[in-house]
């Protein structure tokens, strides 16, 4: 077992353990902290795959911005054990069945994933580097990249229209 494999298993176990702890924690703030652990473990995986840019963006966007947003929401809502609403027993059962079915489908899909590997075009070890990414973004994917600006612009206009005081 070389160092890459050891790292892979370590990160995988950390990610799964963190995800389980996130779901089972009673305190929502702990859940959020475990989620951050999961994100860091996944970023580690990206680095192992030689995708540094994705790893950094994952930490900045998810572990940084979105987590802060989550924490704010949780603190504003002031959740704790007493205020937690009692969940319906049937709702829980329905959730288990729905989630279980989804898991079943995913397992069925991933069972065949080995066959897919050979159909994929390999881009070599350079695929995740910023240089490659930037080149692709401004040649092959220039239209979606530029047109997303319309999306963000409309979201900004909306934030101003909805959030402006005094009307």
């Amino acid at each position: 077992m070389d160092i890459t494999q050891i790292l892979f298993w370590f990160l995988s176990i950390l990610a799964v353990f963190g995800a389980l702890m996130m779901v089972t924690s009673k305190n929502p703030v702990y859940s959020v902290l475990w989620l951050i652990v999961v994100f860091f473990a996944i970023s580690g995986h990206y680095i192992l795959l030689n995708a540094q840019f994705l790893a950094v963006v994952n930490i900045i966007v998810y572990a940084g911005a979105i987590m802060v947003l989550f924490l704010f929401v949780i603190m504003l809502m002031n959740l704790n054990a007493e205020t937690e609403p009692q969940k319906n027993k049937w709702l829980k059962i329905a959730g288990v069945i729905a989630g279980g079915s989804l898991m079943l489908v995913f397992i069925a899909a991933l069972r065949h994933s080995n066959e897919l590997i050979k159909t994929q075009v390999s881009m070599g070890g350079e695929a995740g580097l910023i240089k490659t990414l930037g080149k692709t973004l401004f040649t092959d994917y220039v239209l979606p990249f530029e047109i997303s600006s319309v999306l963000f612009l409309s979201a900004m206009v909306g934030a101003v229209v909805i959030g402006k005081k005094g009307d």
Partner: protein, 459 residues
């Protein structure tokens, strides 16, 4: 491409003119100029003259059907602005921004209609959706509107997540976002990846067009939103997403259509049943129209179900018939204070012309011959018959169309055969003239549907 560029640019122009023009009432005029510019740009698109003549490495495809469909949408937008522009200005303090958002939606509609790559479809659907969340909550003092906007936003974001996941699975199966690659993959036997991808994309798109069982947001959102924006959402936006739905299924998934036909058939049947039956029990005309828009989506789903040449013609005609009729009805409804069926009592005596136009619109929605709705329903059902399977679905649709006649005629009956204190309606002469024009278009399309359909071949 002209349309996508021009509408994005005109959205920005709208915002800046809000800064420099002081009078609120200028918004309608500026928007109208923009909409006409879109129409001209789109006609240049149709004849192949574009500002940027490129398909961006296969991201877009300039198919005649998509471009013609966009022309219909722009015409509907022009009529919408002419009829309801004043009411958009009355919603809140930011009329220029509302129109800017409407232009951004049109840009998204252009992407959805012309996509050749799943990324473009995704971005297009997002550009269409996000302004709608805002427009739903535009009337900030209205609690119901706020609730509707939040509900729409949360559920819409969730369905976007499902769409994205489906696209990711399809990418996993095909190794590409290109529609041609997907068509290759889906013409072979489905792998689990393909199946999950198609189902997830189908669910998300069904949510966006408010097909049952993903329709639960529709009545609340359409009822809670300001009525002018309900009119926009229920017509132009719904039609725009339908063309994306149809194009995706025709161009990418048609290869082994038997594998997913049953699912679409069940969604269609459920949509028709829930939409029509629930509409019967409504007391408010606005809410009835929300359910009727679910029911009409069921008919439009027939085009997706059939995936053949007739379904393109059917969807084109259906979108035109449905958009014009619904915009006409909503334009009058906005002016009324009482949205219940009783509010329409005795309207024919006070406003015979308006009552006549409303009658034509309702008849068209019900699919009575001599109106555009008849041929629209005929073509989508004929497309389904042509596939030769699932005849029970067609028969079921005809029965449901008969049910729809009941609740549409309740309004007509209230207008003509019931006495009542009618509410005062202040309607200007140009407004009435436009309404008559809408009725004339519906009747002309009902007599000569080939006027529109021939343009698919000649121009």
């Amino acid at each position: 491409m002209n349309l996508i560029l021009l509408s994005a640019i005109w959205g920005i122009v709208m915002m800046f003119s809000g800064l420099f023009l002081n009078s609120k009432s200028a918004a309608k005029t500026v928007a109208l100029v923009g909409a006409v510019a879109l129409l001209i740009g789109n006609i240049f698109d149709l004849s192949g003259k574009m500002i940027i003549n490129s398909d961006f490495k296969g991201m877009l495809q300039y198919e005649r059907f998509g471009l013609l469909f966009l022309t219909v949408l722009i015409l509907a937008l022009i009529i919408y602005i002419l009829l309801s522009g004043k009411d958009v200005e009355a919603v809140g303090k930011h009329p220029f921004e509302y129109f800017a958002l409407i232009f951004f939606v049109m840009s998204g509609a252009g992407l959805v209609a012309l996509f050749n790559n799943l990324l473009i479809l995704f971005i297009g659907i997002e550009i269409v959706s996000i302004p709608l969340y805002i427009l739903t909550g535009a009337d900030k003092r209205n609690l119901k509107g706020n609730e509707a906007a939040l509900k729409y936003f949360l559920m819409g974001s969730f369905s976007t997540g499902i769409l994205l996941m489906g696209i990711a699975f399809l990418y996993g199966a095909a190794g590409s976002f290109q529609v041609e690659r997907l068509a290759m993959i889906t013409s072979e036997d489905f792998t689990a990846f393909t199946t999950i991808g198609i189902v997830m994309v189908m669910v998300a798109l069904a949510f966006k067009v408010s097909a049952a069982p993903f329709h639960f947001w529709t009545p609340d959102v359409y009822d809670g939103a300001p009525t002018v924006f309900t009119s926009f959402m229920a017509t132009i936006v719904k039609a725009a997403i339908f063309i994306g739905f149809l194009n995706l299924f025709i161009n990418a998934f048609a290869g082994k259509s038997d594998s997913w036909k049953l699912t679409v058939a069940i969604i269609t049947a459920l949509t028709l049943f829930i939409g029509n039956i629930t509409a019967v029990y409504q007391q408010s005309v606005k809410r009835m129209l929300a359910y009727s828009s679910i029911a009409q989506a069921g008919f439009m789903l027939f085009a997706v179900f059939a995936v053949n040449d007739l379904s393109k013609q059917g969807l084109l005609l259906y979108a035109a018939a449905y958009c014009f009729a619904t915009i006409g009805i909503f334009a009058v409804l906005v002016k009324m204070k009482d949205y219940t069926f009783e509010g329409f009592n005795g309207l024919a005596k006070k406003q015979p012309l308006v009552a006549f136009v409303l009658t034509v619109c309702f008849l068209s929605l019900a699919g009575i011959p001599l109106t555009a709705g008849f041929f629209a329903k005929y073509f989508v059902l004929a497309a389904a018959v042509k596939t030769g399977t699932y005849l029970w679905l067609v028969i079921f649709a005809v029965v449901m169309a008969a049910v729809s006649v009941y609740y549409y005629f309740r309004v007509i009956q209230a207008m003509y055969f019931k006495e009542g204190e009618t509410q005062e309606l202040e309607l200007a002469t140009p407004f009435k003239a436009l309404l008559v024009l809408v009725a004339a278009v519906i009747i002309v399309l009902g007599v000569y549907p080939s006027l529109l359909l021939d343009m698919l071949i000649f121009f």
